[in-house]
Amino acid sequence: MTAKRKILIAEDTMVQRMAITAWLQRHAFEVEEAADGAEALRMLQFTDALPDVVITDIGMPHLNGINLCRRIKQDPRTRHVPVIMLTSLGNEHNHRVALDAGAADFVTKPVTEKELLYRVNSVLLSRAHAGPPRQDRYRAILDALADGVIVTDQRGACVEANSSARELLGYPSEGSLQLRDRPIVMEPADWAEVVQRALAEQPAWRGRAKLRRQDGQASAVDAQVTCASVDDQPSYVWHLLGGGAPGHANKPELVDADKLYEMIGLRSADPTRLTADEHDRLVKFTEAVKNAAAAGRIRRYQRRSAETGEVLGRMYLRNEIEHIIRNRG
């Protein structure tokens, strides 16, 4: 016997929530209900059995459907769960925003049972074909690579990037890069022609390129570029040779101190950037502090709290960063 498919509904109007629940239960779905986006998010965070689909209204108090969808897609634990948005008739803007937020599909209000069931089954079917576990497995493999890998479209806009590439380019390691509207490849200016010419004669183009970082600066990398079909679109896979992980020769010369503050859960208003050596040293230092805290070796300096190792580690690292900044004058 197969388990019931579970659906989480986030809808703040009770009448519509009741109707949707009844429709889905009639078709043997197990339904959980949330009265707004914040409640839905809490349910997702605390459940051991994630739903197969989330259906959410857009306009809701506390956390609207768009932000709920974004939060679901940002969390590695939940990002494979497809989200169907309930949008208003004729509101093209909402449709676009819903899809940009990562929604798998949308249903136009007023919702009908037939339409909703069609969309839910369609999303479940495509998910079964796509296989989220497989997607996750490939994503995990890509993210485990020390070298950066990005995929660009023919204009040079980034459509995919692994963790190392994100780090290299100054983006958070999770979440969407949202670079589709802006070419990321800065040099060679005629890279598409150069690459295509090379690919006509050999399996890959290899050379020096400059990629646009989050802060707009160029990051020079040695890259090997191949052509592939991604989502049925001709795309370029950029293997950033030796780039990405700290310690490699091709990482940017300067990195944001903010990233280090983020690592220790602090936010800095100081835009000062660190040299590669300083960055390496602090990464090692952070790891050492974390390991010492995990082993309980730091705790003896601070007796009041169970989280003292972490607190003390943050303090040490902040002092270290500030020391570097001060000495630089």
């Binding site: 703040d12 109007t13 009448v15 009844a22 429709w23 009639r26 004729g90 007023p110």
Partner: protein
């Protein structure tokens, strides 16, 4: 007369769905609508019209439209469309006049839905219509048309 304000096809589907689930769905939906969503939405729209806040009018009307359409209250849903400025046949009426239409349609829909719920055989979920209700004209979401 009251039932004619409702979309028969929608009601028929809801009745079937309710019966399949043990008969409680329609009374529960109608109760939620008449006791909570409808009076709250009408209050919000009334306040927004009084303060001239068209955006708040549209937001409240949008919410009400969804529930009204789900329950087959087509005329009420149409006025909600007009209040949002999204009707296929835009109204030239002022927001205040549309508020009067909304209150009239809300009263008619409330009576009709109360009858539907009553026909479903579970009157305990629904208060009697406004004239019989001790809670006043807004208690059941049944409101008198603006004079």
């Amino acid at each position: 007369m009251a039932e004619s304000d409702l979309d028969g096809a929608v009601i028929q589907k809801l009745v079937r769905l309710s019966e399949e689930g043990g008969g409680t769905l329609i009374p529960a939906m109608v109760a939620a609508f008449l006791e909570q969503e409808l009076p709250a939405a009408v209050d919000q729209i009334r306040a927004a019209v009084a303060s001239g806040d068209q955006r708040a009018v549209a937001e409240a009307a949008h919410k009400l439209h969804g529930s009204a359409a789900t329950l087959g209250a087509a005329s009420l849903a149409l006025v909600c469309d007009q209040l949002q400025g999204r009707s296929p046949a835009p109204s030239k009426k002022s927001p205040r006049d549309l508020l009067g239409d909304l209150e009239a349609e809300a009263a008619r829909a409330a009576t009709a839905l109360a009858n539907v719920a009553r026909d479903a055989g579970l009157q305990q979920f629904v208060h009697p219509p406004a004239r019989e209700c001790e809670g006043g004209p807004m208690h059941c979401g049944v409101v008198e048309p603006a004079s």
